[in-house]
Symmetry: C3
Subunit: 330 residues, 3 copies
């Protein structure tokens, strides 16, 4: 394994095309804050499988198009080469590339919109990083969230696009937001909570993503699973919508928060574990609040709750057991 | 009086439990930007009286629980001891502790939600202070506002919670937002404007709070009353909803703005007085705008308008007659 | 011409009243980021003509009142004299002064509201500049946008005001947002896209404004026209509402973005042109998204999309062909 890794790295150093592929693969891994091309490859396979399984193969095509367009745009804008090389300009456009074909009807113009959106995601990444660096934070996946929200909200105003979020705009309270029945298939639900990071509803994809994490970091895999389990059980206890619960929709933001907070405060201990568990509950509340806030607009929360919750959890700069500074989030 | 104060302070220095009680009392006073345990005690009495009078005694219990949980959470997170000692980590959780039982139906799970919310308020306080310190500002009561908004919006999505804000979600314009009749009992209305800082609808509580301010700072008491009178009269002139007017709901944000701007720009003069009066009108407009903005979501503005208006009023760093820097707001 | 300019400048240096008039005229020009009293004079004439042509002469009166009140307020608040002299405290209040009589029914109290709003716009300008200076940005016209949004949203809550935005509050998706027919009078539409910067629907005013730009900067005039043409054609292609298209409502934000990005990245080249064209599309998407977001509230986007898009485009601090720093935006 180590020998194979070394050979690949040598190849990437020597050949610009391999280097570009390696950078894109790292970009796929960076969605979950990992810097490893093999993790990225496994994630792309998980996304491909899940997209086909969900009857939405164009989401997998969108992922690759978004990843490549975002990475190339960053190159054209002459960003910091070291950050670029770690895939830090690939992961948000990849997600934009999945979201656009998932939430807009399939038409030729949708693909142009996707390419534009992926390039815009890279510009927004640069902009938000410039803002957040003042507090030692990075933009995480918020450029994807902000850009996709804008693309979907704008699509309502254009005849040529059809929004297919299956979230009819409505005011809160009237009908029961909660409801639907949960069939208590807990383990697949936890794994779907992991796959929903990539807008995929498939426990097999979720399992593959956990494996992808294991390849690079045991701790990340563990935190990811704990995040999904914790948030899902809490949502179940509080009586959240059963159908969404079943799809893993209450797990994915907490998965990301758990990994992010775990990566930053990474010398495990009692206090860090307690703070991460608190962070998982915190992320769920932010997610549910954001869902109500966006309800009248008929657009999904995406990974917005993860970003907001993680920034709020990292900003205090708590010192317990932290060995790295917040700058190392990604 | 001075001798009693000295004895209490000696006691607080010597005994950790008394010190904790003293810190909590200062926390209650800090809602109105005062650092005085006696002021805090009188405020807690005012809240207790008002909660019982309003038929909502659990709001007073919530206040104490929030205050204690928030203060203890700050201790566990090892915050700056000097700030902690002044009660700066008690006042926002105290308000969260009043708001949760006021706006959610009384169930056992609601109390767990309250404890979680109070702890979250302390984390958010640390986060927002870290952001705002770059401009010499502090978070004021915004951590309470943000956390409570999130808790209420999230509660809509959970079967186990019932939102009781009495603000049915609706779009603006359709029905008359204004309406209801005002019965011209001006002085009690002004005092209710003061008590509403703590979500209490009681002129006796308002009077007690004015006395609590007088104990510590004549200027603060004067500015508080001017804030309530000014904003209420302006709302009356512009034709705001009579029923809300009667409850003092158009006064409380201006009370806080007047005290905050008065404390910072504290060498009184013609220009400072003019700016504070302008600030009162400004706060009312921000409050009404925020009420319309939140209307479709069915949640109250809380003290959000005070925070936004005060930040905007302090950011210019105007030099007229200021003897202290904005850092001393709290 | 040069001799006339010199004489006017000498007059302004010597006579305080002429200096004040000159400052106000520069304020009118600064809406389009120009620092030239003649440009400002032509713009005021364009606004006057358009207001009368639109059957809304009070909008032109409001423009002058807002401009003067905002400029005088800045003087009273003792702002930086050099910035004041360039008209940097006049342009946002001028726009507030147009917007208030355009979107609220004509009553005596509306004029008081306008004066208050113009003064508030200056305070908000100082506040936002203090925030944004950390990233080398300025507030652009966002103080106008923020203040006007607040004034309109608040007006819903007051019996004494009537909101006349002709945008009935509604949720997205239900009815077709797009629709209406466009009559393909392209050139007048492009010019109306320019006049809408000042909320005016008149191709003659648009033409006058282009001339006003030409007087000071050929590049600004060119970028303004390119912005209007580009955004309008794109909106047409994507199938935006024909009636709004016809009024130039999809052009004005892109006009401002094109001038702002063009002024900052002002050594023209292939990459800069490409980035500006991208910025025009980006601004249109932000505008449409903001329109959907504000739909439930029944208020217009104003120049909010220009501000948000331009900040996001400038924040990356891209180096291609830039000869000046972002600080020089205005």
């Amino acid at each position: 394994m180590a020998a194979l890794t070394r050979r690949w790295n040598d190849l990437a150093d020597g050949n610009p095309l391999v280097r570009f592929v390696d950078t894109c693969l790292r970009g796929a891994a960076q969605v979950l804050l990992q810097n490893n091309p093999l993790t990225g490859l496994l994630i792309l396979i998980a996304v491909g499988w899940g997209a086909i399984d969900n009857g939405l193969p164009r989401a997998a095509v969108g992922a690759v198009v978004g990843l490549v367009v975002g990475t190339v745009t960053a190159l054209a804008l002459r960003v910091d080469p070291a950050s670029w090389r770690q895939g830090l300009f690939g992961f948000s456009p990849l997600l934009t590339g999945i979201a656009v074909p998932t939430f807009l009807a399939d038409r030729p113009l949708m693909w142009l919109y996707l390419v534009f959106g992926a390039a815009a995601t890279t510009v927004v990444t640069l902009a938000l990083n410039a803002v957040l660096t003042r507090w030692g934070l990075t933009a995480l996946t918020f450029p994807f969230v902000l850009t996709t929200w804008a693309l979907l909200l704008a699509a309502y105003q254009f005849d040529r696009f059809v929004v297919t979020t299956r979230l009819p705009p409505r005011l809160p309270g009237g009908q029961a937001a909660a409801g639907g029945t949960f069939d208590w298939d807990l383990v697949p639900t936890f794994l779907r909570g992991v796959s929903q990071v990539f807008l995929i509803d498939s426990w097999i994809s979720g399992l593959l993503i956990v494996v992808a994490l294991l390849v690079n970091s045991w701790w990340s895999a563990l935190f990811a699973v704990v995040g999904s389990v914790g948030a899902t059980l809490l949502a179940l206890w509080f009586g959240a919508d059963g159908a969404s619960l079943d799809k893993g929709l209450f797990g994915f933001n907490a998965v990301l928060t758990a990994v992010a907070v775990g990566v930053v405060l990474h010398r495990p201990g009692v206090l860090v574990t307690a703070y991460t568990l608190f962070g998982i509950a915190f992320t769920l509340v932010v997610q549910m609040a954001m869902a109500t806030f966006l309800g009248p607009l008929g657009i999904p929360v995406l990974t917005g709750p993860f970003n907001v919750a993680t920034w709020l959890l990292l900003l205090p700069g708590l010192r317990f057991a932290a060995t790295s500074s917040p700058e190392r989030v990604e």
